[in-house]
Subunit: 180 residues, 2 copies
């Protein structure tokens, strides 16, 4: 076997490994998420949009698409449905007429906070899968290799929403992100 | 903030982090995969079924569903389409009449091997995102924390297809898996 073939094999083996791990992880998270938000009559795209809007006050549709890893049309269409239910409002900014911005209404904020309160780690397969590491490390795993891969692909900006924004909706941190 | 609230916050922060990482990873892999197999007129479920059947000779539909992380009905319906295209065959085993088994035809094996040959790491965003780690470590990252989480959720059996089966279709290793 020459070096070229050996190297393609190495790529393919890693490709297979990361594909299996990624699909298994995402399917588990998707299922957990659907179960979690079932009582709120929201699908996961809608809940994700509420989540991002809750953190990035006055997020543009393109911010939602970027941080939510969804097509702009998906972000727009589900935002429209949330607007029709009175959970968020569309607006334009004086200094930026091109982009559409969304902002949670009080009702939207309320339903999102209710969903956070309803989160029960006991019902989450991901939490069950992670607790042995948590117990061993004394904290949740950093997943530093995976995080590095995602940073390389999506950029530092994308990581800011993962790493810096607490669920307490800390204004200073949002401002820092918005200024970028 | 009392201990209970602090702990729920910790769960939610990790939940947000792993959700963002997982969605970003899977969407990238999905896109890479679709691009890769476009010339073969296969969708990713169909290619995944060929992949699993190629490794686990005589896989049952429930094996395909399990290792492919898909519903049994999805595994069955796409296998049916592959059968109609002459890429695999259905069969029953003498000693196990309940399960339906699938096996690649020569045409199916050929198209799958062609797809492996067409794999070009240059076109893969995941490979671009991983190469800085590969260059630093001198090998692809082990993603040991992620692997541990998936093993905890899906079981050791699921991991066998990730860890033991080489793309060279090594008979001894398959036999070991089949005997489990």
């Amino acid at each position: 076997m020459n070096d070229h073939v050996s190297s393609i094999n190495e790529y393919l083996l890693f490709c297979k490994r990361i594909t299996q791990l990624s699909k298994a992880l995402w399917k588990t998270i998707e299922k957990d998420w659907q179960q979690w938000i079932k009582p709120f009559d929201l699908n996961i795209n809608e809940h994700h949009i509420l989540w991002i809007s809750y953190h990035l006050k006055g997020a543009s549709i393109s911010d939602v698409a970027k941080f939510g890893v969804m097509h702009v049309s998906t972000a727009f269409n589900f935002s429209k449905k949330l607007e029709e239910r009175g959970l968020l409002e569309f607006s334009k900014k004086e200094n930026d007429k091109r982009n559409t911005y969304i902002q949670l209404t009080d009702k939207g904020k309320d339903i999102f906070e209710q969903s956070l309160k309803a989160f029960n780690p006991e019902n989450s397969s991901i939490m069950h899968g992670t607790m042995p590491l948590h117990d061993l490390y004394g904290k949740f795993p950093d997943l530093i290799e995976l995080t590095t891969m995602i940073r390389n692909i999506y950029g530092t900006d994308f990581m800011s929403i993962i790493d810096n924004v607490s669920i307490d909706n800390n204004d200073e941190k949002h401002d820092a992100i918005e200024q970028k």
